[in-house]
Symmetry: C2
Subunit: 335 residues, 2 copies
Amino acid sequence: MSDRVQSEADIIDRYLRPLAAGFPGAFSLTDDCAAISVPAGDELVLSVDAVAAGVHFFADDDPADIAWKALAVNVSDLAAKGATPLAYLMSLAFPDAPRHSWLEGFRRGLQDAQDQFGISLAGGDTDRRPGPLSITITAMGTTTAGRNLLRSDAHAGDVLFVSGTLGEGALGLKLRQAPALAGTWGLSQDRAASLVAAYLRPQPRLALGPALRRFASASMDISDGLAKDLQRLCRASSVGTAVAVGALPLSPAAASVVRADPTAWATILAGGDDYEILAAVPSTLAPDFRAQAAGAGVKVTEIGSLDDGADVLFAGPDGTRLPLIQTGWDHFGGP
Amino acid sequence: MSDRVQSEADIIDRYLRPLAAGFPGAFSLTDDCAAISVPAGDELVLSVDAVAAGVHFFADDDPADIAWKALAVNVSDLAAKGATPLAYLMSLAFPDAPRHSWLEGFRRGLQDAQDQFGISLAGGDTDRRPGPLSITITAMGTTTAGRNLLRSDAHAGDVLFVSGTLGEGALGLKLRQAPALAGTWGLSQDRAASLVAAYLRPQPRLALGPALRRFASASMDISDGLAKDLQRLCRASSVGTAVAVGALPLSPAAASVVRADPTAWATILAGGDDYEILAAVPSTLAPDFRAQAAGAGVKVTEIGSLDDGADVLFAGPDGTRLPLIQTGWDHFGGP
């Protein structure tokens, strides 16, 4: 017997249906549609993101990691809006009939991510077409009706916070592409592995949701890198800011990289693949935000404050303005 | 100036944002997430389908037709569930930066479809990757909470109905691939054109929604062809049926094709690309269903009834059982 699946039903019956077992509106994936009930007083928050082999992950990555990341990048958008994950739809495009062993790893990675994020598969679509393996997920969560945490509602005077630490995903990608960099950067094996793990298995900041809903005026995740996403938030809100990179939170691994190679700041600021949250919080509420985040086990760091200017500046460790030529990922090459 | 777009922002600002103008929860496509409110007493019905160049459409098709079809195939799933369209999310993957002229056609086709189906763009994702142009749409509609029209709730004794006429899309595709078939099939230019139009611009049967919600026990669209989708409905509901192909509704164009070439029945039954609705209706309600459908301007035809057997049979025009070797489209080659 071939190790490759023989039909679409094979994929659904053996690998996808178990992922939908916890969600009644999935109808056990026996129908063309899913049904979602939204509790009274809540509204649905939705995000769609596609990941493709060779663009967002490597084709030979562990399928469990591919699955985890495909779901995590979407759930990160929900987390940034303070939403509670509910269900997702997944559209899979395979260039060839996949192997059973690959699908089993993929299923396991999704199940792990579902369990951690509190979300279930509700439906989807599977087909075969030329091109890279691609996974398009529409993730849905609930939030209080009318409590939309947009990027456009920040105000001059708000304090800027980021969650966690920055740049590990982007540095991890560089290490995946060129493992010898670990030597150049003077990284121990453990630290190098921690950066690669951050790239492969991003952790959406769901625990920050209640603090965001209660205190933030605007928030977004910084999956395209702090430089670009901070610009987006400031432009959308018609505010400016100046951020001292010395104030940015780095992990011990990332800190030792920039000590060895200061040009790595560009990767940290603009490399993307950060699934931390950027939030603007009114200054009077900042202490409460910080306290509630700490209570939820999420480290948040004040990185600056918003002004009524139009510039978004980064000052280097020596206080001079950083020339940010590369300002983040754009698939079509523009700003 | 190049005719190709220079950035993702170019695509969003000029071509996608106008499509979201009517939907407040799209936040003018300035955010990473969309918000959807579901009226009390309703629930959300969701369907996701991807279409890709070279698989579901031709790369050189008119972009307005590509856009129409990408949205129509999803809205057809909502129509089959009796849902009222509300909003959709769209994930676009371009192999190269698209031309402005292409995007303008694509936008126009989506706007036409939105206007006709009563649906708005709420959000999405645009990227560039190798492989065919692909468009993944998650369409959402509302229906009465708990009124799920599944394929698994049909019963022995129910009358089977199909809407409209069958096989035009599949015959239209054959004509696109081999225009000389129009001669073989003895088709006038007008009739050949009507078949190609059915392939390019399917019409979801939204007007049938109220009659389905009121009377049907099960329903689905037959986008993979009547043969396969009838099997699916019967298997999911543990019922059987025998359908006489002589009773199937055909347009004048399709009827003249099968007169010229009886083997075209296989295309009509199993070619797919039919966006008609297959519904099972309790026999006592069948006259009311037919009357309400007629009142809504949708022709429905009784094509058989369900029994408690396990077989799904098609009898040819001469009454003998049709050998349906090809039972519909499967991307991975199986049943």
